[in-house]
């Protein structure tokens, strides 16, 4: 049993070279190929990015990736600080602001700018809105691509969107309700509204 505590090089060099080649093939080629094969056969829609197409078949977005909306006729999503433009799907990024910098909380900061934009849009639409603004509507998401807002953040914008579109508030609220998902399996995560899907549904409603 006892061998001296000397390094046995024969057990080191050749196995190291061959094993890394072996594991590269198994975990770097076969494994991703296997997962891609299963994914493309069983879940092709999800595996390719949950893409949304228009009537002509053009890609107009992904169910999972938010888009920038600034037209008051649309619901607005989370703030996005991806560069060079918000909601850049090829350059995900959060703001990475700590809790105190003026760029976040100052009078010219990101949060105040969003508050002002929401309030001016309400005023321009002739809507009086005294509600508090839900925090997710004035903060940037971690990814910069968050497709969702909270039901409260949607409710905050219902009156404005209805006024600009000339729709009944109850009608818009109904469309929001149809696009509100509860917690998954009743427990997990948060209730949320998919902003892109909601806005597309409103466009459909206005066209018909």
């Amino acid at each position: 049993m006892h061998r001296p505590n000397k390094v046995e090089w024969g057990q080191v060099i050749r196995p190291a070279i061959i094993s890394i080649m072996f594991f590269t093939v198994v975990t770097g080629v076969l494994y991703p190929a296997l997962i891609t094969g299963i994914a493309q056969v069983v879940f092709p829609y999800q595996a390719n990015g949950s893409l949304i197409h228009d009537d002509q078949g053009n890609v107009i977005g992904s169910e999972l990736i938010g888009q920038q909306f600034s037209d008051p006729a649309y619901f607005w999503g989370r703030l996005s600080v991806t560069g060079p433009v918000p909601y850049n799907g090829a350059m995900s990024s959060g703001s990475n602001y700590g809790p105190l910098p003026p760029a976040l909380i100052g009078e010219d900061g990101m949060i105040q700018a969003r508050i002002t934009a929401l309030q001016s849009a309400d005023a321009a639409a002739g809507v009086t809105n005294d509600a508090l603004i839900p925090v997710d509507l004035v903060t940037a998401s971690g990814s910069g691509l968050d497709p969702h807002i909270s039901p409260a953040a949607a409710e905050y914008q219902v009156a404005r969107v209805a006024a600009v579109r000339g729709l009944d508030v109850a009608v818009v609220r109904e469309v929001v309700a149809q696009h509100t998902e509860g917690r998954q399996l009743g427990w997990l995560g948060e209730a949320r509204v998919n902003v892109l899907a909601l806005n597309l549904a409103l466009d459909d409603l206005s066209e018909s």
């Binding site: 890394i20 991703p32 910098p101 903060t139 971690g142």
Partner: protein, 583 residues
């Protein structure tokens, strides 16, 4: 916090702890060659060892074992480096990405070979599909398997008597990869795809956006297209979570909706962080023939984890008192409330806080929210969990071998109190073991504190700090970076622009020191303990499975971590906390 938020965390802990015994037992059987998979695949396994030029029964002394680990890592590191430098001329590069800069390539190669997976680069705009697969995914598997192998060798050192053999590295590496990581990753990857995580070799997609007036570029032209980065992500994400790697496919890691699409995918990815590290405690107990010892270690880890998780969840839930009064931060069924900066609407605050604690307790480092935007105390906890040495569950393998070293320190200190030679699991702990254990305990803090100190007095270290108001937050970003690299975690306060020659180099060396200067002493202890006789349990033996010992172990871990890092933390997050609540 809403009741549901609390329940989600409770559900997580229950599911995690329920998995410990079955998975831990399976792993113990795999390593001892007694599992059904060993029997079924025995001919194939023998063939693999023949190909490698080794045999299952050809066991190694600790020096050979350590060298096999090091050489294997070095070759892997070189491959990842070369792949990045040459990716422009290699296939599977649909976006036409250029070669990665030398300093960034070095940093990333070290980062993935050491199971740190610190990312100075942005995945979707830097790495070709080929680099992600052949370089990064492979290291995700084998760096994790390497950590597990070292743990198994240390367990053998504790369990065996009067031998200098602690196992065959290639056998432990192969079994960890093929029988544990690969099947688990396959299942998880497919489930993740079902939730919306992408898995394709197609080019990036381009979408015609809906509100065409919303965006203008720098020249004032309307931007009406959105490029959607996709790729073979799910296969990499599954293993980066299971192997406590953490390196994301996309820049924002598991905050990205294509990387972590739904609350269910979030739950499973978060569970995958702690699953193997927690279950290895049972594996340890089983392999030394006394499962109570494993449960005691797991209890100590779990108590520290739950307490610190409570702090981060509470701090984040309290929100940011400096927001304008018109902002509603109160949580309800319709409003996530609390500190939502840097967090995703589908996850909310409780599951983001849970992830932040889990990913830093284990040396995972993946994120589903931006830690840099946490409240000061919410950000202090992840930082301190790393500074404790990544032993609260910790990295796969590395967490438990780190914690076993702490257990050795604990029996040594209690031995000093009563004036008796300390022993752990029947092995006398003597001067040699204590020297090696001291290295394991002292090197990471030295790397973290010296690294941070050098960075904050040098121009290169401070040039790319993201938050300069208040300056203490910038200090926190640097301290976090070195805590992460110096403990092989990989998460970041991402405001720090770390893709600079200074940080790529400094953090690269921090990761190297932290990984190998711990592996070598840990294996040296394994070799030394394996050679010893077993001491029979006597009246004076300190039992190491009791609540008393659990409390002692917790005390040692907390005391070492607090004494070492309190001054630095006071200059960063603690100072910022008082600035925040003071207005």
């Amino acid at each position: 916090m809403t009741i549901v938020g609390f329940l989600q965390i409770a559900l997580y802990m229950v599911v995690l702890l329920l998995c410990v015994k079955p998975l831990g037992l399976y792993m113990a059987n795999v390593y001892e060659g007694k599992s059904r998979v060993n029997r079924v695949f025995a001919p194939g396994e023998r063939g693999i060892y023949r190909l490698f030029g080794t045999r299952e029964d050809l066991e190694m002394n600790w020096k050979t074992y350590a060298l096999a680990f090091m050489v294997f890592n070095l070759i892997g590191l070189l491959i990842v480096y070369v792949l990045q430098r040459a990716q422009a001329t290699l296939p599977l590069n649909p976006f036409g990405l250029g070669a990665v800069a030398p300093d960034s390539s070095f940093n990333t190669a070290v980062s993935f070979a050491t199971n740190t997976n610190w990312q100075g680069y942005a995945g979707e705009s830097t790495m070709s599909y080929l680099t992600q697969m052949l370089g990064l995914t492979v290291q995700n598997f084998v760096s994790a398997a390497g950590g597990m192998a070292v743990l198994v060798a240390l367990i053998r050192g504790l369990a065996r008597r009067t031998t200098n053999l602690i196992g065959n590295f290639w056998v432990d590496l192969t079994r960890s990869t093929l029988y544990i990581l690969l099947p688990m990753a396959t299942i998880l990857a497919v489930v993740l795809v079902s939730q919306g995580v992408v898995q394709t070799f197609d080019n990036y997609q381009t979408a015609q956006v809906v509100d065409e007036t919303a965006l203008t570029d720098a020249d004032g032209n309307a931007v009406t297209e959105q490029v959607l980065a996709v790729g073979p992500a799910a296969s990499q994400i599954a293993i980066k979570q299971l192997g406590t790697n953490g390196g994301g496919f996309f820049s924002v890691n598991s905050a990205h909706p294509f990387e972590n699409s739904t609350p269910l995918s979030n739950f499973l990815e978060c569970l995958a962080i702690l699953l193997i590290p927690a279950a290895l405690c049972y594996t340890f107990g089983k392999m030394i023939g006394d499962t109570r010892q494993g449960w005691a270690i797991l209890a100590a880890m779990t108590i520290i984890f739950v307490l610190l998780l409570g702090v981060v969840a509470f701090a984040e839930q309290a929100g940011n008192p400096n927001l304008p009064g018109i902002v509603d931060q109160v949580s309800s069924a319709a409003n996530p409330g609390a500190n939502m900066e840097g967090k995703e609407a589908r996850f909310g605050v409780p599951t983001s806080a849970l992830w932040a604690a889990a990913t830093t307790a284990a040396s995972n480092g993946s994120v589903n929210s931006m830690h840099d935007s946490y409240t000061p105390l919410g950000g202090l906890v992840p930082m301190w969990l790393m500074q404790l040495g990544e032993v609260i569950y910790g990295g796969v393998g590395s967490g438990l071998y780190g914690m076993l070293i702490f257990a050795i320190i604990a029996v040594f200190i209690s031995g000093l109190m009563v004036g008796r030679t300390p022993e752990y699991l029947g092995k006398k702990i003597e001067a040699y073991e204590m020297k090696m254990a001291s290295l394991v305990i002292l090197i990471p803090p030295a790397v973290v504190l010296i690294g941070t100190a050098l960075a904050v007095v040098s121009e290169g270290g401070l040039a790319t700090v993201g938050n300069t108001t208040p300056p203490v937050h910038g200090f926190s970003e640097v301290l976090y970076a070195f805590s992460s690299a110096g403990n092989n975690n990989g998460s970041a306060f991402a405001g720090l622009g770390a893709n600079t020659p200074f940080h790529n180099t400094a953090l690269g060396f921090a990761m190297l020191f932290a990984r190998y200067w711990l592996v070598i002493p840990a294996l040296a202890i394994a070799g030394s303990l394996a050679a010893k006789k077993s001491v029979p349990v006597g009246e004076g033996t300190l039992p190491t499975h009791t609540p008393l010992f659990i409390a002692l172990l917790i005390g040692i871990v907390i005391l070492v971590g607090a004494l070492t890092f309190f001054p630095a933390l006071a200059l960063g997050p603690i100072a910022e906390h008082f600035m925040m609540i003071g207005g």
